[in-house]
């Protein structure tokens, strides 16, 4: 509710700003989960908001409701002269490939997928690295040695989260067991908190005491279930620690907000380039969240171990295997 209010105020503000500025007309086409999913899409939205607050340039956006609307929306923004345009989510790659060719003078940014066109900037994240770190922390915090994972839709991207997480768990505690569930096989799996809660409770019943939710809005149900049962949970994409202080162990932060902000900012500063950026721990694209909400749950020695693993990955001493490099977790 608070988020809605804030964005309403922002929208009103934008209305007055839009008339003043005409040079840069940024736009965003969100992914299926919707703008206010408290996670992936919302991260992009926060980045856009930060940009608007700083530079006083309004950002328009659109939330598609089916596959075909990705292409339609991207084209409509391009036709209206919006530039740059951010396409959020891997599902938009196909559409962007087509529209990108049609509008070679418009600048596009795609998050979570790669489209190889000169006018497209692709931003992907090494989610496996961030997931590795929260996996390490999960294994350290777990008393039962049973660690849970709840994924959204069963696609390679989410398996990448899972695979990195499992590696982290095993790294910290080779005898730990990971119990993993995917929420479903349709896009509804990104937006089903009820089912997320059920899956989490099922895992708790099997002895799990730390669960990692990589499931978009479905994750809010997982986090809630952990709070209700007094178990620990790990959030994803945005920093979700504030949601349930006391049971939120940490969050695997994917800085989509930074990606969106940087894209707009680069455009404004004239440094925009159509390339592929792969953002891992080293680049600050992914990270684990440590703040006032979870500092009590993460004692200094645990924090030190996680930070050590992070340093090792950055230094190349630990290589985290990427599921999507060979579609297998080994």
């Amino acid at each position: 509710m608070k988020g809605l209010l804030v964005s309403l105020i922002a929208l009103v503000a934008m209305g007055s700003i839009a008339q003043a500025q005409t040079t840069l007309k940024p736009a965003i086409v969100y992914a299926n989960g919707g703008k206010f999913d408290k996670s992936f899409n919302e991260g992009v939205s926060n980045g856009a908001k930060k940009f608007t607050d700083e530079i006083k340039i309004a950002v328009v956006d659109f939330e598609p409701s089916n596959e075909t609307q990705f292409e339609q929306a991207l084209r409509r923004f391009a036709q209206r002269g919006n530039d740059p345009i951010i396409a959020v989510g891997f599902s938009q790659a196909v559409a962007l490939e087509k529209v990108g060719k049609e509008f070679p003078n418009t600048h596009f940014t795609i998050i979570d997928s790669v489209v190889k066109l000169p006018n497209v900037q692709s931003v992907v994240f090494k989610e496996h690295e961030g997931s590795f770190l929260v996996g390490v922390l999960a294994a350290l915090a777990s008393k039962s040695g049973k660690i849970g994972f709840v994924g959204g839709m069963d696609i390679p991207l989410i398996r990448r989260f899972q695979c990195g997480y499992e590696q982290g768990v095993k790294y910290a505690n080779p005898s730990a067991e990971v119990i993993a569930n995917m929420t479903g096989t349709t896009p509804a799996a990104w937006n089903d908190p009820g089912r997320g809660a059920e899956l989490a409770k099922g895992q708790f019943d099997r002895g799990v005491d730390v669960v990692y939710a990589a499931a978009g809005n479905t994750g809010t149900g997982v986090l809630q279930a952990a709070k209700d049962r007094g178990k620990l949970a790990i959030g994803v994409d945005s920093n979700q620690n504030y949601l349930h202080p006391g049971t939120m162990l940490t969050s695997m932060i994917k800085r989509v907000d930074v990606a969106a902000y940087n894209s707009f900012k680069a455009m404004q500063g004239g440094s925009w380039r159509g390339d592929v950026s792969v953002l891992g721990l080293k680049e600050g694209g992914v990270d684990w969240a440590y703040d006032q909400y979870n500092e009590k749950l993460v004692p200094p020695e645990m924090k030190a171990k996680v930070e050590a693993a992070k340093a090792d990955i950055i230094a190349g001493k630990i290589t985290v295997h990427d599921y999507m490099s060979n579609n297998a977790c080994k």
């Binding site: 929208l11 409701s65 292409e71 891997f90 839709m153 390679p156 991207l157 349709t186």
Partner: protein, 356 residues
């Protein structure tokens, strides 16, 4: 017998009643739009212009209508046989799989004139096969077709995700989608638009379904089964076989959604292309009174709402996509489910006008 009021004149039934329904829907929607601080007439204008105001928007409207025609006809054919096929979603999905598999296997060897018909046929066969399983379960095992077809939607979704993630995924692709089809499988389409020749296929299907149901002995037997199964048995129709036939045709029609989506638009197998068209087909068939002409008109209305609704959300930031769904739902509610609501009032008015 139990309706004491006189029937309405035909013109009131066909013209006046739908107009009143649309007006009622508009009034209700207006209230909601108004609460959100948007001028309802402005919103209505955006919706209509967004759906019909330019060649591109008309193209998208017709493209959506194409899908709704296929799934609406699918529901209607089964319904005429007394079967409630809720599985259009899954049948469309698997129909797309069949069409995609045929293309992936053959597009490098066949020219368009051979590739396109084979792929269309494959879509129909796979859709039909997916519908035939619940049909068989009902005919020989007594499982209720409503339940089984719903469940088969989930089975189809799971199967597709498995295949796309593990088998059909293009090598080196980040996202679960197949390799690109060769152009020999592309259906001629409007430049920069989703509208493609599938619309022609849809219209041919409308005519073919009409001829089948009302002008062939098999359609006759199918309708007999739907209206009165005992009479069908008496007439010598094998209900089990006819159940299979009805569901097969129904599933095949739903499978054509795959043709529109994959051969017309995406040119590769992607996930989630049925996007609810299978379910919407139930409403389309109901609103179209299970007649191909009515279904074509209802599909057009659904297409307008889909395309116009997207444009509305696009143009007015305060109207979110959820609100668009509410608006679409209200229009469908008033012009479909509640279509009889104003009838008694209208009848009373007519009775006053011409006292007997």
């Amino acid at each position: 017998m139990r309706n004491p009021r006189r029937p309405l004149p035909a013109w009131a039934d066909i013209v006046l009643l739908p107009l009143i329904n649309i007006a009622l829907a508009f009034v209700t929607v207006s209230i909601i739009v108004r609460i959100n601080g948007v001028d309802p007439f402005h919103a209505l204008r955006l919706l209509v212009v967004g759906a019909l105001g330019s060649p591109e928007s008309i193209g998208y409207t017709l493209y959506y209508a194409t899908n709704f025609i296929f799934t609406g006809l699918a529901v209607a054919v089964a319904f005429h046989g007394g079967l409630f096929n809720i599985g259009g979603e899954g049948q469309a999905y698997i129909g797309g799989l069949g069409c995609g598999l045929a293309i992936l296997a053959l597009d490098r060897y066949l020219p368009a004139w051979a590739m396109i018909p084979i792929a269309i046929l494959a879509a129909a066969l796979f859709g039909a096969a997916w519908a035939a399983v619940p049909a068989w379960l009902q005919a020989w095992r007594g499982s209720h077709i409503v339940i089984t077809t719903i469940m088969f939607n989930f089975v189809a979704a799971a199967l597709m995700v498995y295949l796309m993630v593990n088998v059909l995924i293009a090598p080196g692709s980040m996202t679960p989608q197949s390799r690109n089809f060769e152009p020999s499988s592309f259906l001629p389409a409007m430049q920069g638009n989703a509208l493609n020749l599938s619309l022609g296929l849809a219209l041919v299907c409308c005519l073919a379904v009409w001829i089948f149901l009302w002008r062939t002995p098999w359609g006759y037997a199918l309708r007999t089964m739907g209206h009165n199964p005992e009479a069908a048995v008496y007439a010598g129709t094998d209900l089990r076989r006819m159940t299979m036939v009805a569901m097969g045709i129904s599933g095949g029609l739903a499978g054509f959604v795959g043709v529109n989506e994959l051969m017309g638009v995406h040119h590769r197998i992607v996930l989630d292309f049925p996007a609810g068209y299978g379910f919407a087909g139930i409403a389309v068939a109901l609103m179209g009174r299970n007649h191909p002409l009515g279904i074509a008109l209802a599909a057009l209305l659904f297409g307008i709402l889909q395309q116009g609704g997207a444009e509305l959300a696009f143009e007015i930031p305060t109207i979110t996509r959820e609100m668009v769904v509410v608006i679409q739902g209200l229009v469908i509610l008033f012009s479909g489910a509640l279509v009889q609501l104003p009838r008694p009032w209208l009848q009373m008015l007519f009775a006053l006008r011409r006292p007997s």
